[in-house]
């Protein structure tokens, strides 16, 4: 992956969305994907925060990758991640109180997300600045997309609403907003994607990174 053209940038971005979608393909960061997706809104807010942190972390790691001693890569990544998450938290807390009220609960959790750490190691450590940022954006968007899909599924069935607006007039399935429902939703969507992959793309097309 040395010389990048426009189309290869797009394929890096798309890889995060579909081919190696963090939640449905790589099966990373499943814990937050279950924890925050009982409402679409929560999923979106979390996804946006992760998107920002991933772009910044990948950019930083890529910039100083020749300086990071390979023997202490992981502590270095952790510190870079923690720094960006803290900065995000402080800035939002000061300048955007309304958003902080909604998101404050989640931001600090991002420090421990496997997907952020894994992209720093797998991609940013081996690539130049621009492709690394695109990978961060793609993976972040993929995570956001996964959270929205799960959120729609769970909020619609579990609360009968979408983005807080009542849609279905029926007694909701409480189990869907509980963690159990999160696993149900995740398993079903994951299964659907793999089925689609096998049936229409011979196990390679829509996925590629399927495993």
């Amino acid at each position: 992956m040395s010389a990048h053209t426009k189309s290869s940038y797009w394929s890096i971005f798309k890889n995060g969305l579909f081919g190696e979608n963090p939640v449905f393909r790589l099966a990373l960061s499943l814990c937050p994907a279950v924890a925050v997706t009982n409402k679409v809104k929560n999923g979106v807010l979390m996804g946006v925060a992760v998107l920002f942190v991933m772009v910044m972390v990948n950019a930083t790691v890529s910039l100083i990758r020749n300086f990071i001693n390979p023997k202490v890569r992981i502590p270095s990544y952790m510190f870079i991640i923690a720094t960006w998450v803290t900065v995000t938290d402080l800035v939002i807390a000061a300048y955007s109180r309304a958003v902080y009220k909604e998101m404050g609960l989640y931001i600090m959790l991002i420090v421990a997300f496997a997907i952020v750490l894994s992209r720093a190691e797998v991609f940013a450590m081996r690539n130049k600045l621009l492709p690394s940022m695109i990978d961060g954006a793609g993976m972040g968007m993929g995570f956001l997309l996964a959270l929205v899909i799960l959120g729609v599924f769970r909020e619609l069935l579990g609360s009968g609403t979408l983005w807080g607006v009542p849609v279905v007039q029926a007694k909701p399935l409480l189990i869907m907003v509980l963690p159990t429902g999160g696993f149900f939703a995740m398993g079903l969507v994951m299964g659907l994607l793999h089925w689609d992959d096998r049936k229409y793309f011979g196990g390679t097309g829509s996925g590629g990174g399927a495993h």
Binding site: N42, S76, E155, S159
Partner: protein, 202 residues
């Protein structure tokens, strides 16, 4: 040996740089955050007693709950007392739920506002919804009891979020009890039932 020094220096440099970035961010953002928080607090207090004068809400003292100190206030319009306001908290499922409670001069609940909490999104955070929090309005101390069935007289718990509902109810009850002890000479007899209200429902 040479390796050890290299590793140490590399890590040290990263840690120092990160420390500087975080320090600078904190330095710039913390005054802004403090001012915003103070303003929010003032606005929240004003919203609890809208008919009070702009400078009519004055601190009246402090009280202790869950080993933390909270304030309470008297709100006046001219010389007439319009509300008592107390800040309070209840221990929820995964956080302390911070609230403001305001009482009419006749010691019935006027309004409640949840200031902050860390309850489960989608379950515990329903305590903020009017359907739950609105139940408190107009209730007097003996009525502040959490029940799991439909009720007009008491407070109905949110299904799936009983612990958070109980936390709010207890926090409100503590504050109302304190204000009643403080101001309601005639209503004092009720305070005996207070402790029983805390246990019992598990």
């Amino acid at each position: 040996m040479k390796d050890m020094i290299k590793i140490t220096l590399s890590l040290l440099a990263i840690f120092l740089a990160a420390g500087v970035v975080m320090g600078l961010t904190y330095k710039t953002t913390s005054p802004v955050k403090y001012i915003a928080e103070q303003k929010e607090k003032q606005e929240a207090l004003r919203a609890m007693a809208p008919e009070a004068d702009a400078d009519g809400i004055k601190g009246a003292g402090a009280w202790t709950s869950h080993a933390k100190t909270y304030d309470y206030y008297e709100a006046k319009a001219g010389k007439r007392l319009v509300a008592y306001i107390a800040s309070t908290a209840g221990k929820g499922y995964s956080s302390y739920i911070k609230m403001l409670v305001s009482l009419d001069p006749d010691l019935k609940i006027k309004d409640i506002k949840i200031l902050g909490h860390g309850e489960t999104p989608g379950l515990g955070d329903q305590i903020e919804e009017p359907a739950f929090i609105g139940q408190f309005k107009g209730k007097s101390l003996p009525q502040i009891v959490l029940v799991k069935v439909e009720t007009k007289e008491n407070i109905q718990a949110i299904s799936g979020a009983t612990i958070s509902s109980r936390a709010v109810t207890n926090g409100v009850k503590d504050a109302v009890q304190m204000l009643v002890d403080q101001y309601g000479a005639g209503v004092k007899a009720v305070s005996k039932g207070h402790q029983a209200g805390h246990e019992g429902r598990k």
